[in-house]
Symmetry: C2
Subunit: 207 residues, 2 copies
């Protein structure tokens, strides 16, 4: 019948799943979790209700998958890995900031850090989301703390102080992004990068 030539469509569950995750991740970041409907996700991914609920039975399951399969990799690629491989911690941090600021300026809009956005909206009310998001923060923080311990300034700090310094870096970034979102400008990020760098250099976290 339609033997060899016209076998156009085949099932591609992984590809479809990826499309759903991409669409959902984008919508969750721009509009937020509660403001995004399953219908919005369906339209953005151009799929049917059946397909969506086949891959993700509930909205919460979808969000948890977005966190682990989309948000977490972004954090690892833009923060954790660069910090691990960089020769100078201070330099790496400043560069990460400036790359993000550059991205904002050419996109001309600030949607915020996906991890921050989801944390603020979901972390308090829902324990499931909280533990998922918290562990990501901890991964980020411990990568920073470990790297801080490898600098001349960080070597003399104990475990707690290193964690505190790492938390401070994350807080500065997170808060700067928040301000950037409020003002729709990259200025707060650049301001934070500059001042964070003086703080880092003073504490000799620059090598």
């Amino acid at each position: 019948m339609k033997a060899k030539a016209a076998r156009a469509r085949r099932n591609d569950p992984l590809g479809l799943r990826a499309r759903i995750l991409d669409a959902a991740a984008s919508l969750f970041q721009t509009r937020g979790y509660h403001a995004t409907g399953m219908r919005d996700v369906m339209e953005a991914a151009t799929i049917t209700s059946g397909a969506l609920h086949h891959h993700f039975p509930t909205k919460q399951a979808l969000a948890l998958a977005v966190i682990s399969d989309r948000v977490a990799p972004v954090v690892r690629e833009t923060w954790i890995e660069p910090i691990r491989v960089a020769s100078s911690l201070s330099g790496a941090i400043v560069q990460i900031f400036s790359e993000i600021a550059r991205g904002i300026e050419q996109r001309k809009s600030v949607v915020g850090c996906p991890l921050n956005n989801l944390t603020m909206e979901l972390s308090f009310s829902n324990p499931q989301f909280r533990s998922s998001l918290r562990s990501l923060f901890e991964e980020w923080q411990s990568a920073l703390a470990e790297r801080i311990g490898a600098t001349p300034g960080g070597a003399r700090l104990d475990r707690t102080k290193r964690a505190a310094a790492a938390a401070f870096v994350i807080a500065a970034y997170s808060g700067a992004m928040n301000l950037a979102k409020a003002t729709q400008s990259a200025a707060p990020l650049r301001a934070a990068a500059g001042n964070l760098s003086t703080w880092l250099d003073q504490r000799r976290f620059n090598e």
Copy 2:
């Protein structure tokens, strides 16, 4: 009929309005704007649908009123005023942090800063909310910048650098609160306070 003795109930529009705002402010902060229904507000304030919509025709109007009548005063009382009257800027900032951290520890839960929460959720998608929240941030930032200009370290900075330093302080607080919310602990706030203080003192913002 019920002439003198039994005239128990009287209208109290301002009191009712205040109750609505209190309830809504609390719910918006803990659950978020979109996750809070008008019915939740009605129940929390123990009023009827008619009364609620008489004072605030739409949910958005209610939220805007919450921002200007509840959130803004909180920011002014806990941040702007203390900074204006304090003798030491650095000392004032550290004290504000520690008071907030203390509050968290005895309440045993972190709901986050109301301004931050609403900004993250609403500021990007809705221009009405954005301008309202942004002006509050600007008020906060300019109060800080002005005070920084009055310190020995800040006097030599130009207008832009002062604004950047002010933004950095806000970012550090905002981000620390975000982390605190994610971990449900006051530790990130204390970490930020300590490290922010080092940065402040190094830049001689301490008088």
